[in-house]
């Protein structure tokens, strides 16, 4: 299996497999990039409603095409139907959220269930038809990656390129509307149009992805990679790039795994790989990962406890227990007495705390947001002349 695995991953295990792997990787890149802005706009679950609401369009397109005497199962026909009803679903959500008292999540839930219900009714009708070629419509629900041909892979590749290009071109607009739509509106930006373009891109990715991973799991490709990327960075550009990489990697690895092992449906495996990458990011990412965050919080607590203990010691309160032992480990105290280093550290902490106190009393409006005031060395946070000014008034008594 090892040789096979290498062959699949390096695209040398036959033409068809290579096409599928590259196609799904491109889909992952496109979905990850666009999903970033969807997440920023706090509309992650619109993709849920969108993908469910493509189902009645697919079924109707099949019915109409068959009725007109065309081949009902041709992909362009079905995808046109999906596109139309997906757009209708998004417009319905926006209209309900805007013109009624229902909140957006209720609008999403309502549109999702009603459209999907209509789709299921139509599918149950189609199954009773006598045309006999309706099999395969249901692959849209769970997807059928292995069926991807070269034309489709090329189309997905072109889409990925277009999605990345559109996000690069409209980066400023998407960022502005995503972070602060009210401010954008106030500045005269066409927020509605920008939203519409974003939703149009999301619809495009969803419809293209339907055939590959299915309408339930395409949601995952739009949500999971950006959510995972969020843990690695605080910058939007970096986040979009990382999301694209995670999406592409999920598509690549997922499609390869599915090609290697029997009975691993590609759509689901791609999502599971994305979920695994999400878990790794969630736990281990240095910027916002859970472990890094907890470590930072612990370090902060420890530094604070240490300073408080040292200052207390100057006043004759000797810390006991774990904190006392920690101070001797740090070399700040020995045999129940402060070492010279400990004494100077304690005096520095005392001076720092009192200067911060003075600063908070005299200039409460100037307190910097980023610094841990009271803990960070004040000389490094505030300008020197201000610190000197504070020092001169250290012993003043506030009236």
């Amino acid at each position: 299996v090892n040789g096979d695995a290498l062959a699949v991953l390096t695209l040398s295990a036959g033409y068809n497999t290579a096409v599928v792997v590259v196609g799904t990787a491109c889909l992952g890149i496109a979905a990850g990039t666009i999903g970033t802005f969807l997440l920023l706009r706090r509309r992650a679950l619109v993709s849920d409603a969108l993908s469910h609401s493509t189902l009645p369009g697919i079924a109707l397109a099949f019915l109409i095409a068959t009725w007109l005497g065309f081949e009902g199962r041709s992909l362009p026909v079905l995808l046109t139907g999906a596109l139309a009803s997906g757009v209708l679903g998004v417009l319905a959500i926006q209209a309900i959220a805007r013109y009624t008292r229902l909140s957006e999540d209720a609008a999403i839930g309502a549109v999702l269930s009603v459209f999907f219900g209509a789709g299921v009714v139509l599918l149950s009708h189609i199954q009773t038809l006598e045309t006999g070629n309706q099999a395969g419509l249901k692959t849209f629900i769970l997807g059928q990656t292995a069926a991807m041909n070269r034309g489709e892979a090329t189309a997905i590749g072109a889409l990925a390129l277009a999605a990345v290009a559109a996000c690069a071109l409209l980066f400023k607009e998407f960022r502005l509307v995503g972070f602060d739509p009210d401010f954008a509106r106030g500045q005269g930006w066409p927020v509605g149009t920008i939203d519409l373009i974003l939703m149009g891109l999301v619809t495009l990715v969803t419809v293209i992805g339907l055939q590959t991973v299915g309408l339930i799991l395409i949601i995952a490709l739009l949500i999971v990679p950006p959510a995972a990327a969020r843990f690695w960075t605080e910058r939007l550009v970096t986040m979009a790039v990382i999301a694209a990489v995670i999406g592409g990697l999920s598509g690549w690895l997922g499609a390869s795994l599915s090609a290697l092992f029997p009975r691993l449906p590609a759509g689901a495996v791609i999502v599971l790989v994305a979920g695994g990458l999400f878990l790794v990011s969630f736990l281990f990412a240095p910027a916002r990962g859970v472990i890094a965050t907890a470590l930072r919080a612990f370090r902060l607590q420890l530094a604070l406890a240490e300073q408080v203990a040292l200052r207390g010691w100057l006043r004759g309160r000797r810390p006991t227990g774990a904190l006392g032992r920690w101070l001797s480990v740090r070399g700040l105290a020995r045999d129940g007495v402060l070492t010279p280093a400990g004494r100077s550290a304690a005096q520095a902490a005392e001076r720092n705390a009192r200067l911060w106190e003075r600063f908070l009393i005299d200039y409460p409006a100037l307190v910097p947001g980023q610094a841990h005031w009271g803990l960070d060395p004040i000389d490094r946070v505030l300008p020197r002349d201000l610190v000197r000014d504070l020092e001169s008034r250290l012993d003043e008594v506030t009236p």
């Binding site: 009603v114 459209f115 209509a118 949500i223 959510a227 691993l264 449906p265 999502v271 969630f282």
Partner: protein, 301 residues
């Protein structure tokens, strides 16, 4: 259609749909108020691995292990969503999206593996529900309904759903005040000594129970929790009855031979009622609002 076929085929399905709609309507109201309408949708996807797992462990499609697996998966999903949201500092929608899609994908893989062992587990029935498969073979006519032995053979799907609807009703009746306060203002609830977190998880479990109970029959019903929007139980009952009616009997009236998906039709009926409410509701409907605005304008002029 004779009384016998109605009693054997249509009545049990109707009752199941009715109970499912009532249970979902009861908990759905509070989800809409908490702006967590999509929790029902998320949970109904996330229970898939639990259902398949319960099925694999028990080796049969009997209700209890499947239900237990589903409930475990639903509670896990609720905890995971909350954990990802809090620890990962992600917004609610993204946390839900991540958890339910990954769990659903896990379920799909499990199901394929299970199908490899040639066991009888149908993806379709999990995806859409099979409301129409509930049969009640005991009654032979209206008169036989007087016989308690006939009632004892009521399909267990119907009994379970009835019990769940009753449970939801009881919880809402008993804790109405607490549910209302925690929904509108969790901070106030906490200061008043009401454990808001406890009620959050309680509601999650209740949603899970309602969703799972409906799951066996009609997963779609759980999707439409939010559609209820305050009109609630009465509307829920109407959608169940009319939706089933249209699905089962509509095609025959129009000359078709086969009936349509009942669960899907119920969702569609809910959508039609929602549209009607949006347009025609006297106070907040679009038409009512436009009219009162016109009146206001003519009076001020």
């Amino acid at each position: 259609m004779t009384a016998e076929t109605f009693l054997q085929i249509d009545l049990p399905a109707l009752l199941a749909a009715l109970f499912a709609c009532i249970a979902c309507a009861l908990v759905g109201n509070f989800l809409v108020l908490r702006r967590q309408s999509l929790l029902g949708d998320a949970i109904s996807h996330a229970v898939l691995p639990g259902i398949v797992g319960g099925f694999l462990i028990a080796g049969s499609r009997s209700t209890l292990p499947v239900m237990a697996g589903a409930l475990a998966a639903a509670v896990l999903a609720g905890v995971l969503i909350e954990g990802v949201r809090r620890l990962g500092r992600l917004e609610n929608g993204a946390a839900m999206g991540v958890v339910f899609t990954v769990m659903f994908a896990g379920g799909v893989v499990l199901m394929e593996q299970a199908a490899a062992r040639a066991v009888d587990l149908d993806a379709d029935c999990v995806l859409y529900g099979q409301l129409e498969d509930i049969l009640w073979l005991a009654p032979t006519g209206w008169a036989s309904l007087a016989d308690p032995a006939v009632w004892a053979e009521l399909p267990h799907e119907v009994t379970v759903l009835g019990a769940v609807a009753l449970l939801c009703g009881l919880v809402v009746l008993l804790f109405y005040k607490e549910l209302k306060i925690t929904a509108f203002d969790p901070a106030l609830a906490t200061t008043l000594g009401i454990p808001a977190g406890l009620f959050h998880y309680g509601l999650v479990v209740l949603v899970a129970v309602a969703a799972i109970a409906s799951f066996a029959t009609a997963r779609l019903l759980t999707d439409r929790l939010p559609v209820q929007l305050g009109l609630s139980v009465g509307i829920g009952a109407v959608t169940a009855l009319s939706g089933y009616g249209f699905a089962a009997f509509g095609p025959q009236l129009l000359g078709g031979a086969n009936s349509l998906s009942a669960a899907g039709m119920i969702a569609v009926m809910a959508g039609i009622l929602l549209t009607a409410a949006i347009l025609f509701a006297p106070q907040h409907g679009i038409i009512g609002r436009r009219r009162s605005r016109a009146r206001y304008r003519s009076e001020t002029v």
